[in-house]
Symmetry: C2
């Protein structure tokens, strides 16, 4: 083929601008790698009259049909975000024989199956590297580079907003509200930050990563989610004293005996873990496989140019195939149908912070309750006074989530327990390396 590979782009926001910029800036190198130039022809925008200096050479339209019906367009790049009409536009594009590249984690997490079925039916590519980890290469590495492995675990810092907030709280001793305010002022958190701080954004990425890693379909509803809104400076301070940092992790495990377990929640992560040094808005994805052992992929999880880097990697991969006239896409890799482990059956060490009456025998009473529910304690520390109450920090040994919940309920029912201030899972390496 000697005509340029041609793109129709849906959306002209931050990432779209980045894609236009990088495709222009690195046009020579990209054309060398593809064999022919790669060019954007048409951009779908809301308002064609808005002045967009960086898009002055491009044709703007507010009518998706114009892109859909344009036979010169080989690849549709979807950067609108949101579920609808992004999902419908992508399905229509594939039905029209166009390849699709997207950065849309919502659609991939919720409608990934539909997308792959359309790609297979209409023999097109469907690529989504930018939907997880921004610029960090992780979709292609899992699908191709780690393909020799049976992956057993993924742990990811996949949300920059919450990592920034937790980093500020750790470094400056800030409380949650002021760290979040600073993140908002710097543009790292949205005016309504709930999707980030409640863990929902991370949960979408967890679903995508788990589907890729374990070759089985994991949807958003399969992910148990807990955010960072309850984390206090006290929790972070206790973590440090015990040799941990607090991180919001997307965790996905595939144990042959228990099934797939996918969750997002804060974790006391030991300081020596490679993820513990991932700070500010940086993201990283740590994987375990039965050949590679441990590996980690680190970089910028958001931003116009990093995300454009991932989007264009997908474009170039497809453009090479188009230019060569070969179809070599890896389609859906969810060839397995694995069962899920119930959250109640998951096992972890736990940190609990409780406020209790300052009376003789209270520690014993509490320890007895834990014992009743089969929760074995690693340490119980009385740490300080809050008014006339005593604060106690408990670290448990490995325990089933269900038993832990029962013990929590029983503790709350005790008259000497004022409240359970927080409960956070603790990442403790096992002797068997799990």
């Amino acid at each position: 083929m000697d005509r340029p590979v041609t793109i129709g782009m849906l959306g002209s926001g931050t990432v779209g601008t980045g894609v236009v910029h990088v495709l222009k800036e690195n046009a020579y190198e990209i054309s060398q790698k593809v064999g022919v130039p790669v060019q954007i022809k048409t951009v779908l925008v809301r308002d064609t009259h808005k002045v967009r200096p960086y898009m002055k050479d491009l044709h703007l339209t507010d009518d998706f049909e114009e892109i859909l019906g344009d036979d010169a367009i080989d690849i549709v790049v979807e950067l609108m975000g949101g579920l609808h009409p992004a999902r419908e536009y992508m399905l229509a594009a594939m039905k029209a024989g166009k390849h699709v590249v997207t950065a849309n984690k919502d659609v991939v997490a919720q409608f990934g199956k539909d997308m792959f079925e359309a790609a297979e039916e209409y023999h097109t590519g469907f690529r989504f590297e930018a939907s997880v980890g921004g610029g960090i290469p992780i979709v292609t590495p899992i699908k191709e580079c780690l393909t020799a492995n049976r992956l057993t675990e993924i742990m990811g810092i996949v949300n920059g907003t919450t990592n920034y907030v937790l980093t500020k709280m750790t470094r400056m001793g800030s409380d949650y509200a002021s760290a979040l305010k600073e993140a908002q002022e710097k543009g790292y958190a949205e005016a309504d930050p709930s999707a980030d701080v409640e863990g929902l954004d991370a949960a979408r990425k967890a679903a995508i990563l788990a589907s890729l890693a374990f070759n089985t379909r994991v949807g958003l509803s399969d992910v148990s989610v807990e955010g960072i809104t309850k984390i206090t400076p006290e929790d972070i301070d206790y973590a440090r004293k015990l040799g941990y940092v607090v991180k919001l992790l997307a965790i996905a495990k595939d144990s042959l005996s228990q099934g797939i377990d996918v969750r997002v929640h804060p974790v006391f992560l030991r300081e020596s873990h490679p993820l513990a040094a991932v700070n500010d808005v940086f993201n990283a994805i740590f994987v375990k496989g039965n050949a590679i052992g441990e590996a980690m992929f680190y970089g910028q999880g958001a931003g116009a140019l990093p995300t454009a880097s991932a989007v264009i990697a997908d474009i170039v991969a497809l453009a090479r195939q188009i230019a060569k006239g070969v179809g070599d896409e890896i389609g859906c890799t969810c060839f397995a149908h694995k069962s899920f482990c119930r959250l109640d059956d998951t096992i972890s060490d736990y940190y609990l912070r409780l406020l209790v009456a300052d009376e003789p025998g209270v520690l014993g009473t509490i320890a007895t309750v834990f014992g009743t529910y089969g929760v074995s304690l690693k340490s119980v520390i009385q740490t300080r006074y809050v008014g006339d109450k005593a604060e106690i920090v408990v670290i448990t040994h490995r325990v089933q989530h269900r038993k832990m919940r029962e013990a929590e309920q029983a503790l709350t029912d005790l008259s000497v327990v004022e409240r359970i201030s927080n409960v956070i899972r603790v990442d403790t390496p096992r002797e068997d390396g799990t």
Copy 2:
């Protein structure tokens, strides 16, 4: 195609064993991903009579011609190591129309050009993911995932032996000799460790990484090399006091104004740098690109199973194309012909440790010499006494390598200077982010 993709393997050492093991262990998943099974048929060994329980199902031969002439063999996997006859066997295999996968950093660094020319001439694939960073995916990520970027810098911890030695020296205060001895006892260093500790192994990987990253051919002779044999516990101690850790880095830079600069040497790396937390035998490659910003790839740089993970990723990529009957290999990406920056013209901050006469005015004399050669000093610290001599540590501002060398010579010529104990580059982030 519905016959299995078939492999002839050259070599039956550690990595070969790993490849046999992982292909068997993960056979089902791999066949799902390729579309057909992937099987090893023949293994080239030195002694066909040696008992190899893990290869009992495989045909062993001591005659390469048997593999070369076998039309059923699609892919030759070269795991013999060394330049010859590995190079000749791989060229012959490609001439016979077979795809080649290798873990051989020597051949790739020295004869990469020949290999790619053969691959192009005979329309075969030539893949070498395992030649850098062991299990860490880095060749495919640079060639494919970061393809949108003009990469400007690579910094890598690419030699596990030296990273283990430096980690031990840092954590335990061990001297070089005893840390090396421990590495040898644990099997992390060879009986003759010179290729590792002198930086030659890292230099080969630096040449490969630079060629990939900058799209221009970088050979082993283009890499300036310095090892870790001169590093002492004192250097490591001063580094820590100044907020640094000592790492052996493979560094490759592409500045538009100065050309390509590729080197291997110890560096005072600031503690907050992502590479600073990479310890023991782990490897990591840190990259900067004009779209992605910063990214890092971390994992096990050696070992049977991690290296097998990388080798099999290459096998699977080729096997998919064979099974589908498409040829979609990215060939040689060295489409540019960039000039090199001379070592003398490279610029860095430096740490110097000197032993000088304990006399009034010595600091002034030394500072004057630095000034004469245009070397501006950030700090000069008299640290301790060694016998009747005083030890001085100097940190310079940015200076050309040539000027630094001249200043070193002039200092050595001073009668008050007993010796320059060590000179190590300091990684200081610039205001412009370089």
